[in-house]
C-alpha cells in the first residue's frame, strides 16, 4: 500500500490505521517521491492526496496511467465539488474521498478497490455468524428462521454484510442504499437501521448490528 500525503498528522494516522488493518504501508510526503515509489514498486493500491508539493496528485496519477501502471488509486482531497471529483476520476483515479473522512470509510474503500482490482469472485451468499443472506433468491435467514425484509432494509443489510466487521458511516450508507450524496439533515439512516435491527436482532439473543458512536454502524459477532 502506498500513501502519498504531505500532512504529517494525517499521514501518520492513516499509516497506523492501515497497518492495524493488516497492510504494509510506504509513505511519501510529496508528489515527486510518490511517483518514484509508485513507478518502482508493485502496490496493491495507492492513496493519493491531490494538493501535494512538487507534483500535484492529478499529475501524479496521470503520469502513472500514461506509463501503464494500473495500481488502483484512491484520491484524497479537501475539495468536494462535483467538478473536482469528476476531474480526479478522469485523470485515472478509481475512487474519491473528501477530507475530513472517517478512517473506517477509508479502509472500506481501499479494500473495495483491491477487491475490484484483483477480480475477487462475487459470492452469492453472505454470512455473519448465524445470519445469512442469499443474493440470488434475496432470502435472509437467522439460523433456521426466515426473515422478511423490505427492499431498503435488504439493501442496507447487504451493504453491512459486505462490509462485515468494518464500521460504515451514515454518509456511506446513504450513498449506497439510496444513492444520495447529500446530508438529509435528519435521522433517515438511524430510522432504517433501527427497523433492520427490529427484524434481525430483536427476536434473538445475540445482537449483531452495533452502533459505534460518532462513527457509524457495524455488523459483527460480539466478542
Amino acid at each position: 500500500m502506498l500513501l502519498v500525503e504531505d500532512d504529517a498528522t494525517i499521514a501518520e494516522f492513516v499509516e497506523k490505521g492501515l497497518r492495524e488493518g493488516g497492510f504494509a504501508v510506504d509513505v511519501a510526503a510529496d508528489g515527486a517521491a510518490g511517483l518514484q515509489r509508485a513507478l518502482g514498486g508493485r502496490y496493491d493500491a495507492a492513496i493519493v492526496d491531490l494538493m501535494l508539493p512538487q507534483l500535484d496528485g492529478l499529475a501524479l496519477i496521470d503520469t502513472l496511467r500514461s506509463r501503464g501502471v494500473r495500481t488502483p488509486v484512491l484520491i484524497l482531497s479537501a475539495r468536494r465539488s462535483v467538478d473536482d471529483r469528476v476531474r480526479g476520476l478522469q485523470a485515472g483515479g478509481d475512487d474519491y474521498l473528501t477530507k475530513p473522512f472517517a478512517f473506517a470509510e477509508l479502509l472500506a474503500r481501499v479494500q473495495a478497490l483491491i477487491r475490484r482490482a484483483t477480480g475477487a469472485a462475487e459470492p452469492n451468499r453472505l454470512t455473519v455468524a448465524d445470519l445469512s443472506l442469499d443474493l440470488l433468491t434475496r432470502k435472509v435467514h437467522r439460523g433456521q428462521t426466515a426473515i422478511e425484509l423490505r427492499p431498503r432494509e435488504f439493501a442496507l443489510l447487504e451493504y453491512l454484510m459486505r462490509n462485515a466487521g468494518r464500521v460504515v458511516s451514515k454518509t456511506s450508507i446513504l450513498s449506497h442504499v439510496w444513492g444520495y450524496n447529500f446530508d438529509p439533515n435528519t435521522n433517515v439512516v438511524d430510522v432504517l437501521v433501527s427497523r433492520l435491527r427490529d427484524r434481525i436482532d430483536r427476536p434473538f439473543a445475540v445482537k449483531l448490528l452495533q452502533t459505534v458512536r460518532g462513527v457509524g454502524y457495524v455488523l459483527r459477532e460480539p466478542s
Binding site: 435528519t186 430510522v191 460518532g214
Partner: protein
Amino acid sequence: MTIRRMLGLRLSVWYAAVFVIGTIAIAGLTYALLASSLAQRDHDIIFATLREYASRYELGGLPALQRSVELEERTGDRERLFVRVLGPGADAVFTRTPPGWSAYAQEDLDAAGTAADPAHDTRAVLEVASARLSDGTILQVGKSNEIRLALLRKFQWIVGLVSIIALVAGVTGGLVLTRSTVQPIYDLIHVVQGIISTGRTDTRVPDRSAGGDAVDELSALFNTMLDRINRLLAAMGESLDNVAHDLRTPIARLRGIAERALQAGGPAEQKEALETCLEESDRILSMLNTLMDISEAETGVVRLNRENVAVPALLAEVVELYEDVADAKGVNVALEPGDDVTVNAERDRLRQVFANLLDNAIKYTPAGGKVRLSVRRADATAVVSIADTGAGIAPEHLPRIWERLYRADASRSSRGLGLGLSLVKAYVQAHGGTVEAVSEPGVGSTFTVRLPLG
C-alpha cells in the same frame, strides 16, 4: 497618456487631411468646370457674331456690315469685339478692335487662332475665328478673354481663401472630434489603471450616457460590470464572515468537551467525550458544507448542472426517503396526484430542496398529523406545496425563518442546524424560483415552491 496623445494626434491629422483634400478637390473641380464653361460661352459668342456678320456681308456687302458694326458700337448693344475684313489680296479693308487692342496682321494669328498682346497681361489673348465668304474675302471675329481671366482670378482667390478656412476648420474639428472620441477611452484606461494599481474597485468611469454612442455604452457597461464585481466581492466577504462566526459556537463546544474529559480523567468518561467529539466534528463539517452551499448559491458562483426533471417522480423519491422516518413518528405523508410537470433544474439540488422541506414538515408535526405534498402547473411555473398539520410558526417568527441559523425554537431541543430553510431558499432562487411560507399557529404550515417551467 502617450497612448491618448498618439491616438489623438493620428486621428486629428487624418481628419484634417481628409477634410482639406476634400475641400480643395471640390473647389478645383468647380474651377475647372467654370473655366471651361466660360470659354465655351466666349466661343459661342464669337461664332454667332461671325455667322451674323457673314450673312450681313453677303446681303449688303461691306457697307452693310460697317453700318451694323458701328450701330452696335453706338448703342452698346454688344460687347466690343475684334472685327476685320480681309480683301482678296489679304489686305485689311475693315478693322475694329476692342478698346486697348491694336490690329493684328493675319500672320500674327497663331495656329489656334489666338493672338497675344504684349501690352496687356501676358495671359490675356484675343481669340479669333475666321470665315471665307463667297466673294473670297475673309471675315474675322475675335474676342478678348480679359474679362474671363479676371473672373477666374477672382475665383482663384476665393478657392485659396476657402482652402485656408478648410485647413483651419479641419484641424480644429479634428482636435475637437478626437478629444470627444478619445477622452472616454482615456477615462476608461485611467480607471482601469487605477483599479489595477490600487486594487480599489469603487472608482467609476465618468457618466456620458447622454451621448449614447458605442464608447459611451462601453463606459456604462464597464461601470455596471464593476458594480457587479463589487456586489459579488461584498457578498463573498460577508458569507466568509458568517461562516467564521457560525463555526465559533460548535468549535467552542468541541473544545469544552475535550477539556472537561481531560479533567474528569476516567476512561469511560474519556471514551464518552471522544465519541461526542466525533459527533460534534461531523456536525461542524456538515454545517460548513451547508454554509458553503448556501453561499455559493447566493452569490451566483454556482454552476447548475441542469437537466429535465419530472417533479412528481422527484417528489415520490423524496417521500420514499422519509417514509420510515414519518412512519416511526406516526406522521402520515401523502403525495397527492397532480399535474405532470417537468422543470429544467439540477436534480440533486432540487431533491435537497424538497427533502429539507419535507424533513421540516415531519419534524414539526406531532404524531397523528399529516403532511400533504402536491404539484400543479400554474401559468409558466411549477408549484409545489408541502402542507403540514404541525404546530405552525408564530407570525413574529415567520419572516425570519429563512435566515441562517435562525430557529424559532430557542431551546434548540429539536435536532437540526437551522440552515435547512436558508439552503432551500438559496437553491430555489438559484433556479430562478421563489419559495414562501404561510402558517397558522396550531393549524399548520404550508411551504410553496414556484419554479419556472422550461
